[in-house]
Amino acid sequence: MGNNKIAGVHINQIKLKDFLLSKSMFLAYFLLALGLWGLFDVFSQRYFFSAINLHDIALNPDSKEVVNGLKEAITGDGGEVKREAPWTLYIVNYMYMIYSGSGIIFLVALAELLNIDIIKKTAAGFMSLGLAMIFGGLFTIAVDLNILHMHWMFLSPHFSAGMWLMLPLYMIYIPFVMFEIYLLITDRYDIAKKLAVPILLLSIVVDIIEYYIQARLFDMNVARHLWTTYPMLTVYFIISSFVASSGLMMLYSMITYKDSLKAELSDLLDFLVGIALYTMVILGAYEATAYLFIDKAWGGVMLFGKFKYYFFAYIITAVGIPFVILFRRTHSIFWITVASIFIICGAYLGRIMFVYGGNAFPMSDTFGTGFQKYAEYEPIKDYIFFSPHYSEVFIVLGSVGVVIVVYKIIESLFSVTKIHNH
């Protein structure tokens, strides 16, 4: 494998065949295939759904399309999006992928500023993982949106909407992170050294702005009081992302740096375990006190209602069990792996709780006399929970495939996991 050099960065000349037929790419192909299956299903539901109106019946009473549309209207389950819970697993996955990816980038920038040597050596790999996760999250949100109309985000911007602010945010954020990675892997040490501190400071500012915009996105939904009454949502997003990111970084370190770091691996893990412990304590304290401030209707559903088992499962898996394992400051690869898997899964459950929880309390008590039912044959609902459709699950798995592919491309071309000593 030879290499070229552009702007001080060594670019590996890789054989396409070797790249495409590597083991990790086969896993990515499998996940992407599931994602494509989900994509096909979502798009067939969205664009080829048998939807009709009365005008269609009047104009084409004998058409097969009208018959199918009538069948769907009477016996179907009402299309892709549920009126009561328009935001579901897509948003969960987008939040998890993007917030955790950004969390990794944020933590690495902080550690570099604090001159943590072991992170400086491994920063490029971590940042590439974070960047790949952001692409995975963006893939999910792109599927969620009506892609054919996306150009209106550019043609008709609504500058104050949280959703629109994501567009310039990631158009700036992604190249910015790429530039950070460039500085880490270039051999133009003089430029890198000059720019390091201002870029790191700027990176932290951009990260905070990112979490603020994400918080604004949820906080603008005035009727969903779980989100509007959650104290200091930006801080909560940062803390909970740090927990997820620390779990991901631990697992990634053990997979990637086991051989290359050797003795220093335990230093790296020790540092990451420390981050995990501190952030888990803050997250635990946050969750324990936040519900004192959250609207009691939402708090009731989450803590004492139908969501309580999910909620406590989240607390136990994201904080409880990993804290008990890591508190002993173990150096056992096995136990750190177990703890990191618990953190990764628990943090995902936390995102599910947050998104589904925001929809959990029905909007239908409009007259203050109890929840209404909208139709004759519909039961009255005192909470809302829709299991995700299988195609949504496939899209989520597909997004993991996107993460692998993006990471693998960066790693193959730039060897970001090589230990850098500058």
């Binding site: 299309g79 009561e84 109309h149 909407a161 959703m163």
Partner: protein, 225 residues
């Protein structure tokens, strides 16, 4: 420029759903139980073993401070002339943010156009063509609805609001909605069908609120597309 609103004498509702059918017919709304611009909500309760049912006709409140407009990333949801909240479906990217933001579940995805849809007060199909009533009002056998202009002191709507007390839905969300529900004249019905902490208004109490909200938003009213 008018400021359109609707009064609902909801105690008259008999749940015949003629309004829903008329709306679907007039506006070409997608067929389906969950695909409606307006609906009749229902609660079933019993007091001392005596059951009773409340029927709550509802639709988009065309809020003066509509959160759905605030969250829309492309301006597909916008404040339109007449104080209406409208959707330009071509611009809808289906982010579902407006559905999430609406406190009244008034929006849904129309699968025919792959965009969000909601009540327009029949502006495009009737009002802009010179009609003075919406389809739901015109078809209602028990005269639940009265569509009109809040800026017209001599109009039927304001005259009615001057005579009757009324309330709005989820007032605490500060959306300044414009579906004005008339307090039932029968006291028992009123007690059973309105939440105890609902604020009841007279026209003189409500007028300054709506004027303030209108003054804030009127500069944003766009020509209906």
């Amino acid at each position: 420029m008018a400021n359109y609103a609707m009064a609902l004498n909801f105690q008259n509702c008999i749940d015949c759903r003629a309004c829903e059918s008329a709306c679907k017919d007039e506006n070409g709304v997608q067929l389906g139980a969950d695909k409606h611009r307006l609906w009749v909500g229902m609660t079933e309760e019993s007091i001392f073993g005596r059951p009773y049912v409340n029927f709550y006709p509802s639709q988009c409140n065309h809020c003066q401070d509509a959160p759905c407009v605030e969250v829309c990333p492309t301006g597909a949801s916008y404040f339109a002339d007449g104080g209406l909240v409208m959707v330009e479906q071509d611009k809808c990217i289906l982010c579902k943010g407006c559905m999430e933001a609406c406190p009244y579940n008034a929006r849904f995805v129309d699968d025919k156009v792959v965009a969000v849809d909601k009540c327009t007060f029949c502006y495009d199909t009737r009002i802009a063509r010179g009609e003075t009533t919406t389809a739901c009002q015109a078809t209602c056998p028990t005269k639940v609805r009265l569509f009109g202009d809040l800026d017209s002191e001599d109009g039927e709507l304001v005259k009615l609001l001057k005579e009757r007390r009324f309330f709005v839905l989820k007032e605490k969300e500060n959306t300044v909605p414009k579906l004005l529900y008339l307090v039932p004249e029968d006291e028992n019905t009123a007690i059973n069908s309105i939440g105890h902490d609902t604020k009841i208004y007279t026209w003189n109490e409500f007028k300054p609120l709506i004027e303030k909200a209108t003054a804030k938003r009127r500069p944003q009213w766009e020509t209906i597309k």
